[in-house]
């Protein structure tokens, strides 16, 4: 049975009448047309679909929309307009961290989740922070460099 779910999506209050078992990933991409969120594995392993739910990094392919009544969801599409994103984007560009770009939205969300909790992470902590995000192209080092750079350059933002 469809239900009305109310949530705060990218800082806007929204309501949707929907099968509560539909995956958040599909609701975001298809019902709200927020295609910044990518589907990689659909099993919660690759991190391409990660979003922030109530400030926590979560793989949206693992979440039925029915569990999100009243929740705050931030996707890459919403995060893009922030100052913090601009710093991350600049650093990802400079460090050469983007090849095909498919893992990138997830990597950015994981970086944001990490820096919110730990504004000055060590390299070890950065690696741990993106340990749930798989990249088939870069070999990860450039991504780690970018986040390290962003933490320095974004002094005061996180």
């Amino acid at each position: 049975m469809k239900k009305v779910i109310n949530l705060i999506l990218n800082n806007k209050s929204v309501s949707i009448e929907i099968d509560p078992l539909r995956r958040l990933l599909d609701v975001l991409r298809e019902d709200f047309e927020l295609t910044g969120v990518k589907e990689g594995c659909g099993e919660g392993e690759c991190g391409a679909c990660s979003v922030l739910i109530n400030g926590r990094l979560i793989n949206s392919c693992m979440v039925p929309i029915g569990t999100l009544e009243g929740a705050e969801v931030l996707t890459i599409d919403g995060f893009k307009s922030t100052e913090k994103y601009k710093v991350l984007e600049e650093c990802f560009k400079e460090a050469g961290s983007v090849q095909c770009g498919f893992c990138t939205p997830g990597m950015i969300m994981a970086s944001e989740a990490l820096l919110r909790k730990n504004p000055k992470p060590s390299e070890e902590e950065i690696r741990e922070g993106v340990s749930g995000n798989l990249c088939r192209c870069t070999g990860y080092n450039m991504i780690i460099d970018a986040i390290m750079l962003a933490a320095k350059r974004g002094e005061g933002l996180w």
Binding site: L21, L57, I58, P64, T67, G132
Partner: protein, 280 residues
């Protein structure tokens, strides 16, 4: 369309479960994989789903005079961030999965999924954990080793919800944990080893040893642990080989796509022997 429910409190969840044959859904990180279908398609749940991950009654972490009490719907991250939880438990949890998965996966889910490779299990078995199950007709407590009876099988009744995990307070002063997998995160264990001991005046006062992913359920041998109690450094050195051989009889891993039996057994015994050599 399969029905789903989001009860407002634990009592309502129990009532729903009493009247309907349902699937309990806490974090969902196992269920959503088991029931995965194609992109854009709702997962293939065959029975109605009751969401319980939000229920406050099963999300607390407290200490009473006997135990650390963890609500079954506590996420792994919530447990790892809680000030009541000792470091050695946090270390086991932080080796699991990845940050995003830990943010919604629950300890109750890991227990009830009862995978032979469940990563919270060796720790919980070793610490004599007791599980509190509740239904509309009352509560019962079950030791974890009686709760899980085989791969994916528990003795939970259809109308019961795992409510709380009780870990007895202990005085262990030495811990050894190793999760052996193909990579540092998001790894399914090939095997795992948890050992802990309390030593006093150069002798073993209490010792617990548990192996994961090397048998249908966690391997723990209280009789072998008892043999080690009261033993001092000199006598321990002479016992290690014999104890290892006894555990070798109990460790029965399989060959599967993750690893082979020979490797699992060898590494398990290596970890055991290392732990025993370093206990005193």
């Amino acid at each position: 369309m399969v029905d789903s429910y989001r009860p407002i409190n634990f009592k309502e969840a129990l009532k729903l479960l009493k009247n309907n044959d349902c699937i309990l859904f806490a974090g969902g990180t196992d269920l959503m994989v088991k029931n995965k279908r194609w992109s854009g398609i709702v997962p293939s749940f065959k029975k109605p789903v009751i969401f319980i991950g939000h229920l406050k009654e099963i999300k607390g972490i407290y200490k009473d005079e006997n135990s650390l009490r963890i609500g079954s719907a506590c996420s792994l991250t919530e447990i790892a961030e809680n000030k009541n939880v000792p470091e050695f438990i946090k270390n086991v949890i932080l080796d699991m999965a990845s940050p995003a998965t830990r943010n919604i996966a629950t300890i109750g889910g890991n227990i009830c999924n009862a995978s032979p490779a469940g990563d919270t299990l060796p720790l919980l078995y070793a610490l004599n954990t007791v599980l509190v199950l509740e239904s509309t007709t009352g509560e019962r407590e079950v030791p974890i080793e009686k709760f899980i009876i085989g791969p994916g099988k528990t003795i939970i009744n259809k109308d019961e919800i795992l409510k709380e995990i009780l870990i007895p307070i202990n005085n262990f002063n030495n811990f050894s944990y190793k999760k052996v997998g193909t990579r540092k995160a998001t790894a399914l264990s090939k095997l795992s080893f948890f050992g802990t001991s309390e030593t006093h005046d150069g002798a073993i006062k209490d010792i617990r040893i548990a192996f994961g992913a090397v048998a249908p359920t966690v391997v723990r041998a209280k009789d072998l642990e008892n043999k080690l109690k009261g033993i001092d450094k000199y006598n321990l050195a002479n016992m290690i080989t014999k104890i290892s051989n006894e555990y070798s009889k109990l460790i029965n891993p399989i060959d599967d796509q993750r690893s082979i039996a020979k490797y699992r057994k060898k590494v398990s015994l290596n970890l055991l022997e290392k732990f025993l050599r370093e206990v005193l």
